[in-house]
Structure formats: structure tokens, C-alpha cells
């Protein structure tokens, strides 16, 4: 990359008039209507020919006011809202919310329920990473091209996952299966065997994916593209696979265990490449790791109740007293945090404030650091490799 773009990579606010262009610069608004912006996202690009001098991300086109809306809802009414802001991993988002309220109330979740949550979270991680893989290759190969082939293969396995979730919750996408203190649905008969069969299929499918996409063009398009140093990633608060691809060995599943992660060994995938290829490596390794963890969890799955010993009889009776706290779990995209201030309306039946910390929002902040010096073609690769979900970014 040309060193003249380095100041723009170091500081997105570096004045544009210090850049000496051979001809006029062109301003290109990429999005909000654009096939590869993963939702409704706008990038203002200042181009010198095809090369990006400056990139400014604009978010908020999908803002639905979730955080304000939940201030008027009781705690039991909120779960269906929470599985909609990140619509690619609804299961994990419900869990982030359930964990937050349970921590605030000091409720102990039964061991079986914690296992079920872990199993569902890991299957959700595979589903989410599969969607990432398909959109990532779609961006590189095109809807009419090799990317679409990859997507169809990924969706074959995602379909299996939806069938599994449907068997548990009765719903294919927005599950509403977590309640405060445990699970709403127990695992149906024969479900464990179905998951095992799925894991075998999935493991074979990984090799199939690799045969489909691993060639020189894939390497050319991803290696050295969107290099994010560990300092930048830590400074921007980036978590999850994006952080681990920058060489930082941090995973909340191992370092701050929640659910039943303290009872299984999680081998954290870390890559040193810092580029789009490293992010690909980390996510592929994580999917394989999820398969391994799932097998362990299914072996150890305990019997017992799935909801708290003192069930909350009246859903509306959950009252979170005055006080504040931050809880976080590791979702497929990174740390899904919940900042909860209790003691809202009706003596704490509603939250005073509930702030969601979405991992994708922080990843989007990196865009303006990563893009200068790259070409327009690389925008979609960098954006795809960060795996943002706009519903979660804007909430």
C-alpha cells in the first residue's frame, strides 16, 4: 500500500486538503441501498480514481429505538424484542438479556438449563458464522457467481440448524425460549441424537466448503486486506473473532465463563494475520471448535429442572430494584453487553435504562481506519470480514 495513505489510516480526521491528487477526487456514496452493505449502511467514500482516500461510515438507517422502547415494557415482555436486534444470532441475544436480569436479581439458573443454553449458543454460533461465510464470499464472488454457490451450501446446513431450533422452541427464527431463571422449553425426545447427526454432517461440510472456495483468488482477495492492528482493535473496543484475528487471545467463554462454559474446555482460536484472511481463519476454526464443544456438552448433559427452583409465577412480578450493573456474554460477533439500571416504573417492574453494547457497532468504527489506500473492490471484503449486522449496530 502506498505510504501516502498512512496518515489517513492513522487518523480518519486527517485533513483531506493535505492529500495531493493527480486529478479531482470523487465522492461516492456507497449505500444505503447497495447489495453488499449487509443491511442498510452508508459509506461516504472519497475516491482518487478507484483508490479510497477517506471513508466515513454513517449508521442509523435501521434504528428502531429498542432501548427506549424497552423502558416501557416489563422484564418478561422483553425477550422477543431482544432476539430481533441481531437477527442472525437471536438465541445468543436472548441469553445476553436473560443473564443480565438474572444477575441483577441474583437468580441461580439450574445446571441443565445452563447446559441447554450453552448448547443452543454454540449451535447458534455455527449458524451465524455460516451466514458470515456466505455473505463474505457473496461479496467477493458476486450474487451471479461463485459466491452464490457457497451461499447455497451454507444455507443447506443452516436449514438443518433451524429444524433443530424449531424442534425445541416451535419457532424457526425468533425463539423466545429463554425466561428469567431458566428455559421455557426442554429438549424434546431424540433431539440429542439429531444434533449429533447434524454435527457429523457439518464436519463433512466444512471440507466441502474449503474445496469450493480455497484457491489463489480467495487468497489474493483476502490476504493483506483490511489490516487491523491489535492496538487499534483494543482501542476501538472490538471484541470477538475480529479481535482474536488481530492476535489478542481473549474469549469470554474461557476468560469470564458464563452458562456452562466453566465445565468444558474452550480452545480459543487466535490468528496473527490481522487481515481479512485472519478473520476468515478464526471463524472457520471457531466453527470446528463449536462442533467439538457441542459433542462434549451433549455427552455431559445433566438431568434436572430447566427453570429456577422458585419459579416466577406472575411474569409481571419480576422487579429489579434500584441499582446498576453490566453483564456480558460472548456472542458469535463478540461481547454482547447489557447495562441495566433497575428501579424504573412500577417499583422496578420496568427497567430505568437498558443499554445494549453490540459488538458490530464497534467493528463498524474500524471501517474508516481500515479503508484508506484500498480500492472500491476491497470495501466489500473489509466490511464482509468484520461481519456486521446492521440491526444490531442501529438497534
Amino acid at each position: 500500500m502506498d505510504p501516502i495513505f498512512q496518515p489517513f489510516r492513522d487518523d480518519p480526521h486527517y485533513p483531506l486538503d493535505r492529500y495531493e491528487a493527480a486529478a479531482d477526487l470523487m465522492l461516492l456514496n456507497m449505500g444505503p441501498q447497495h447489495p453488499s452493505t449487509h443491511g442498510v449502511f452508508r459509506l461516504k467514500l472519497v475516491l482518487d480514481g478507484e483508490i479510497i482516500v477517506k471513508a466515513v461510515p454513517y449508521m442509523g438507517y435501521l434504528h428502531r429505538g429498542v432501548e427506549k422502547m424497552v423502558e416501557g415494557l416489563t422484564f418478561a415482555q422483553m425477550t422477543p424484542i431482544f432476539n430481533k436486534h441481531d437477527y442472525v444470532s437471536p438465541m445468543t441475544n436472548e441469553q445476553a438479556y436473560a443473564v443480565a436480569v438474572e444477575t441483577a436479581l441474583g437468580i441461580e439458573v439450574p445446571r441443565r438449563a445452563r447446559y441447554i443454553r450453552t448448547i443452543l449458543a454454540e449451535i447458534q454460533r455455527i449458524a451465524s458464522h455460516l451466514l458470515w461465510l456466505s455473505t463474505f464470499t457473496l461479496d467477493m464472488g458476486g450474487v451471479i457467481g461463485g459466491g452464490a454457490a457457497m451461499m447455497m451450501y451454507n444455507f443447506r446446513e443452516r436449514e438443518d440448524i433451524f429444524d433443530l431450533f424449531e424442534a425445541v422452541t416451535g419457532s424457526r427464527f425468533h425463539y423466545n425460549t429463554h425466561c428469567i431463571g431458566g428455559q421455557r422449553h426442554d429438549l424434546p425426545e431424540g433431539w440429542v441424537q439429531r444434533v449429533r447427526a447434524f454435527l457429523d454432517r457439518q464436519e463433512r461440510a466444512f471440507d466441502e466448503y474449503l474445496r469450493l472456495i480455497r484457491n489463489d483468488i480467495f487468497d489474493l482477495r483476502t490476504k493483506g486486506v483490511g489490516v487491523m492492528s491489535a492496538d487499534l482493535a483494543l482501542g476501538l473496543g472490538i471484541t470477538g473473532p475480529n479481535l482474536r484475528a488481530s492476535g489478542v487471545d481473549f474469549d469470554m467463554r474461557r476468560d469470564a465463563p458464563f452458562h456452562a462454559y466453566d465445565e468444558v474446555e474452550v480452545r480459543v482460536a487466535v490468528a496473527q494475520g490481522c487481515d481479512a484472511y485472519a478473520r476468515y481463519e478464526v471463524r472457520m476454526a471457531e466453527m470446528r471448535e463449536s462442533v467439538r464443544i457441542l459433542r462434549l456438552l451433549l455427552d455431559q448433559l445433566p438431568e434436572g429442572p430447566i427453570c429456577g427452583s422458585k419459579p416466577v409465577k406472575m411474569a409481571n412480578a419480576v422487579r429489579v430494584p434500584d441499582g446498576r450493573g453490566y453483564t456480558a456474554i460472548e456472542g458469535p460477533r463478540g461481547e454482547i453487553g447489557t447495562w441495566l439500571i433497575g428501579g424504573g416504573e412500577d417499583k422496578g417492574a420496568k427497567p430505568f435504562r437498558l443499554k445494549i453494547r453490540p459488538p458490530s457497532l464497534h467493528a463498524m468504527a474500524a471501517m474508516s481506519y481500515l479503508l484508506p489506500g484500498h480500492t472500491v473492490s476491497d470495501v466489500v471484503v473489509v466490511l464482509g470480514s468484520l461481519d456486521p449486522i446492521m440491526g444490531e449496530v442501529d438497534r
Partner: protein
């Protein structure tokens, strides 16, 4: 004889050829969609007609019914003209391709049945293929859209870069056959073996490079950078709608078909039958078969590969394809010298 009149000859041979080319281009859309569906675990179009074979008719009817939108800020005249020219150019490339083979009494073969047997035959498709850049660039520029502009620029850069290895590798058969005429090139192959096979080495490499560059000329994956829909949203066709859009799509298929036909003619012996199966007109079937085989290889590549980036494409052209094809030209010249020296 009636065919002695060049105009009548062009009419009698040319019209069926055009009909076949357009039909194949049209049904190429259908074949490709079913082929892609097969690759991708889908079913593809199956509802219109038996096995969905009339899907293209339904699509074309839909295209004709749509409103012909011309953006107010576009350069109206150029915008409208630019959508028609690529089709003319793509189809005219076929004019010099000999489609038949005639056996002489002494057992040697001669190529025949080209619409026009130009003495400088090979220059015609190369020149028209080069011209192809102009209407596409005009479409990109006149649309008055930034994505189209980027696409037009990419189109020009790619067209010019890939023209060079394409012309150079096309020179390999010319040198080996000792003639610019496609008739002579095919005749030579009929009597001495296909250039993709003999002489071993340069012919095969030239075949692969020529095939790759014609992919780039026709904007096919992995070189479909000018119309990358995930980056610049379809590029030059972004502002086109209705039948003008349909023309661009059909041109793509026609151009791909023609590129495959040309590759088959230059390197796979054109209408030459590797083993005799019936009368001389079977040569046409063989040419069509070879062309369709290459056509499917193109779509096989298209539905399984990712695309290059613009600068990597230039790298590939200038660092690898141009030097290698220059070497091939020299090699084949040396080969001819050695063989004739014997």
C-alpha cells in the same frame, strides 16, 4: 453458381448463422440457469414450458413490456445508441468463422462455409472485439452515474490490457499455419492436427491464455470486474431497464458464445471431425459441440470461482500473460523454422 455472388452468399449463410447464434445466446441463459442450479443444489427455472425451456421467452416478453426509462440527467442520444451497438459487434465476430469442411479427392480437407472468407480473417474478430470497448464505455459515461463511470473505466482498462495477450496468442496459430485467414488456419489443423495438441506445449498454453483473455473480453468470472454487482452494483447496466437491459444481457451471452466459437476455431480445429461420422455437414455439428463445451466450461468457472480485483487483474495481464504470450510467439516461430528446415 448462386453462391458466387458475395452478397447473396453472405445472406444465405449469414442469416441462419445469426438465427443459430441468437437462439443459442438466448437459450444459453436458460442452460446456464439450470446448470448453475445443479451446481448450487437448487432446481432453477422449471415452470415455463417442459422443464422450464421457455423461460427465456417469458423473460424476453417481460423485458419488452417494461418501460424504457432514460434518466433525465443522462446523455440521451448516446445512452440509447450504446445499448444497441455491442450486440452488432458481438454477432459480426462470427462472420469469418468457417463452419464446414470439404474433403478433396486426395483425402485432404478444406475449410468452407464462412459467411465471408477474408484473407486477413483473424484481424476481423480481433479488431471488432477491440471496438467493443467503445459502446460499453459510452454506456458507462452517458448514464451519468458514478458506479457506471467506475465500471466504464474498468472496462476500458481491462479491454486494453487483455487485448494484447489475446492478439499475441492469436498469432501462434497464424504463425504455425502461415496465414491470417481463418479458412487456412482451420484447413491446416484439419490436415496436421489441432493447435491445442500439436505442436506440444506452445499450442496448449496459447489455447489456455486465449481462452482466459476471451473470458476477460466478454466480462466473465473471474474477470467480470466491470460489472461486479457486489461492488459497483452491476456497473454500466445500472441505469438501463427494459429491453435495453435485456440487450446488454443477451450481448453478454452472445459475446461469450462467439468467444467460445473463436477459441474452438483457432485451437480446436473448428469443424474438424477427429473421427469420421457421416457427411461433411457434420462439421457444423462438431463446431457447435466444441463451442458449447467451451461455453459450459466458462459457466462452470463462473459459478464456482470468486472474482479478481481490478489491480490484480492488471498484474495478471501485464506480469504474466503478456510475457508468456510473447514467448509463445517466439517459440512457435522457432518451431516453424525448425520444421521447415527439415
Amino acid at each position: 453458381m448462386i453462391l458466387d455472388n458475395p452478397y447473396l452468399h453472405a445472406l444465405i449463410v449469414g442469416l441462419p448463422l445469426l438465427a443459430v447464434a441468437l437462439t443459442v445466446a438466448g437459450f444459453g441463459v436458460f442452460y446456464e440457469r439450470r446448470f448453475a442450479a445443479w451446481i448450487q443444489l437448487r432446481r432453477g427455472p422449471v415452470w415455463v414450458g417442459p422443464q422450464g425451456i421457455f423461460q427465456i421467452v417469458a423473460d424476453a416478453l417481460k423485458m419488452f413490456q417494461k418501460e424504457d426509462l432514460v434518466p433525465a440527467s443522462a446523455d440521451q442520444a448516446i445512452f440509447k445508441l450504446a445499448s444497441w451497438f455491442p450486440m452488432f459487434l458481438a454477432l459480426s465476430l462470427l462472420a469469418v468463422v468457417p463452419m464446414g469442411a470439404v474433403e478433396a479427392e486426395d483425402g485432404s480437407w478444406t475449410a468452407a462455409w464462412a459467411v465471408s472468407s477474408l484473407d486477413v480473417g483473424i484481424l476481423w474478430p480481433l479488431a471488432l472485439g477491440g471496438l467493443m470497448v467503445f459502446p460499453l464505455w459510452a454506456a458507462g459515461w452517458s448514464s451519468n452515474n458514478k458506479y457506471s463511470l467506475l465500471s466504464g473505466m474498468r472496462m476500458v482498462a481491462q479491454g486494453i490490457s487483455y487485448e494484447i495477450p489475446m492478439v499475441l496468442t492469436a498469432m501462434v496459430p497464424v504463425i504455425l499455419a502461415g496465414s491470417l485467414s481463418l479458412d487456412d488456419i482451420v484447413t491446416y489443423q484439419m490436415n496436421h492436427g489441432w493447435f491445442a495438441v500439436w505442436p506440444p506445449g506452445p499450442g496448449l498454453v496459447a489455447f489456455v491464455i486465449f481462452f482466459l483473455t476471451s473470458l476477460a473480453e466478454a466480462d466473465r468470472v473471474p474477470f467480470d470486474i466491470p460489472e461486479a454487482e457486489s461492488e459497483i452494483v452491476g456497473g454500466i447496466t445500472i441505469e438501463y431497464s427494459g429491453i435495453r437491459m435485456g440487450l446488454f444481457v443477451l450481448t453478454e451471452y452472445a459475446h461469450t458464445f462467439v468467444a467460445a466459437a473463436l477459441t474452438a476455431t483457432l485451437f480446436l480445429g473448428g469443424p474438424h471431425m477427429p473421427f469420421s461420422v457421416g457427411p461433411a455437414w457434420m462439421g457444423v455439428v462438431w463446431l457447435l459441440g466444441k463451442t458449447l463445451f467451451l461455453f459450459f466450461v466458462i459457466y462452470w468457472i463462473r459459478w464456482t470461482w470468486l472474482r479478481y480485483r481490478a489491480d490484480q487483474l492488471m498484474d495478471l495481464a501485464w506480469r504474466w500473460l503478456v510475457p508468456v504470450s510473447l514467448g509463445l510467439v517466439m517459440l512457435s516461430a522457432v518451431w516453424v523454422q525448425l520444421m521447415e528446415g527439415k
